[in-house]
């Protein structure tokens, strides 16, 4: 069963201002006459870009979690903190609601994003017809929660700025925070590169465009 879509009717929809226009005969890209954005009937090379960014993020996910993100030196000695030990510290110091929150934002969300986007991209490549609505909703959730992973990068920044009392206490940033920041940015870019309309194309729900690969 297929429904009328912009691409099936030879129309292009702008991704910025959402103007629907007639595509210049057979073209799949144009410049939006209203807002001037470059528009494509589908995000260009969506799956290839999504995979490239996802794999890069997955590779960096390991050092991001293994390497320390900051080093605290005080009169009691030096302490190296990873993302996980930061969560553990919050947990043992009794701030467990915050520990749960940071665990969710810093460890679960990036991992969930990696897995869920890989699942979505694979499902499109396999031309899955199963539950396109549920998969579109999954994508919507990913788009919404992705940015919250930046939390730990900001924590490091605030601690570095605040705790610089020479001999008494000093917090320094460590390499892990760079990998972690890269993971967040790469997963955000990956979910922006993924085109949820491909889910419906591949499921054969869209007219004039059955499971064409991009």
């Amino acid at each position: 069963m297929s429904a009328p879509t912009a691409v099936g009717r030879g129309l292009l929809a702008c991704s910025v201002c959402e103007l629907v226009m007639r595509a210049p005969s057979g073209a799949t890209q144009a410049i939006c006459p209203r807002c001037g954005a470059r528009i494509h009937s589908r995000k260009p090379h969506s799956l290839a870009r999504t995979w490239a960014l996802l794999i890069s993020a997955a590779v960096l996910y390991l050092p991001a979690n293994i390497e320390p993100v900051m080093i605290t030196t005080s009169i009691f000695g030096a302490q190296r903190d990873t993302i996980l030990s930061g969560v553990a510290y919050l947990w043992t110091s009794g701030s467990w609601p915050l520990a749960v929150l940071v665990f969710f934002a810093s460890i679960s969300v990036p991992l969930l994003k990696l897995l869920a986007l890989a699942f979505l991209a694979t499902s499109v490549q396999r031309r899955s017809t199963r539950r396109p609505l549920a998969r579109t909703r999954l994508y919507r959730i990913l788009e919404f929660i992705g940015r919250w992973s930046m939390l730990d990068v900001f924590v490091v920044m605030v601690l570095v700025a605040l705790v610089n009392l020479q001999a008494l206490a000093n917090v320094q940033a460590a390499r892990g925070v760079l990998w972690f920041g890269c993971v967040v940015v790469l997963t955000m870019l990956a979910s922006m590169s993924f085109d949820p309309r491909l889910i419906w194309d591949a499921a054969g729900e869209n007219d004039g465009r059955d499971a064409r690969r991009t």
């Binding site: 201002c17 807002c35 929150l101 930046m150 900001f154 605030v158």
Partner: protein, 210 residues
């Protein structure tokens, strides 16, 4: 605004006829449920007012320390650019750039950009820069992360509370107010209406304020 028009869902590409919705209501895609557009009351005036308030809070938030800390009589303050600068000094320049852009540059762009578009539009003026400016502001939105930054401040406060006296500064209250006004402003904005006004203005400059 009320002309019958087609809209293609940005999430599933379903082609639909635009319908008029009551104030405050949204039109959603009949197949995947994505929000297509929301009809806002006085979108230009309200968003302008909220963005003006946001501008004030942004200035205060960045002019005063967000948090201060005291250990044995020594005191230190933290502000956004200081954090970014110290990260750079410690060799993590990229991370410094990342936090500086997401907590300072993009929010600033969002506020100043919105005002530069909405104020002329409110006055019935449509200088040429409005279209590319509005496009830029819309595209930069996901990278403006003031609320994530503030949650980071809160987590840092809790972490430090065991080793030092931490004092929330004026900047912190201003940032909280900023988050609320920015969220409010983005829920007062109806980008579709702005685009349609800009389009009318391009076609016929005399109708701009209509």
């Amino acid at each position: 605004m009320n002309r019958p028009r087609l809209i293609a869902c940005h999430e599933c590409d379903l082609l639909q006829q635009q319908v008029d919705v009551a104030l405050g209501d949204s039109a959603v895609c009949s197949r995947c449920g994505a929000t297509l557009y929301t009809h806002r009351r006085d979108t230009v005036s309200r968003t302008t007012a909220l963005m003006l308030a946001a501008a004030v809070f942004f200035v205060i938030g960045n002019a005063f320390p967000v948090v201060s800390m005291e250990i044995q009589g020594q005191r230190s303050n933290a502000m956004v650019w200081e954090g970014a600068w110290r990260l750079h000094q410690e060799g993590e320049t990229l991370v410094g750039v990342l936090v500086f852009f997401t907590a300072f540059v993009f929010p600033l762009l969002q506020i100043v950009g919105s005002l530069a578009i909405l104020i002329p539009l409110r006055l019935g003026l449509t200088p040429r820069y409005l279209v590319p400016a509005f496009r830029t502001v819309e595209e930069a939105k996901p990278w403006s992360m003031v609320e994530v930054f503030m949650l980071g401040v809160l987590v840092s406060l809790v972490k430090l509370a065991h080793m030092a006296t931490v004092i929330p500064g004026i900047g912190m209250w201003a940032f909280f107010a900023l988050i609320v006004t920015l969220a409010w402003a983005s829920s007062a904005l109806d980008p579709h209406e702005v685009w349609e006004r800009l389009e009318i203005a391009e076609e016929d400059p005399t109708e701009a304020s209509a």
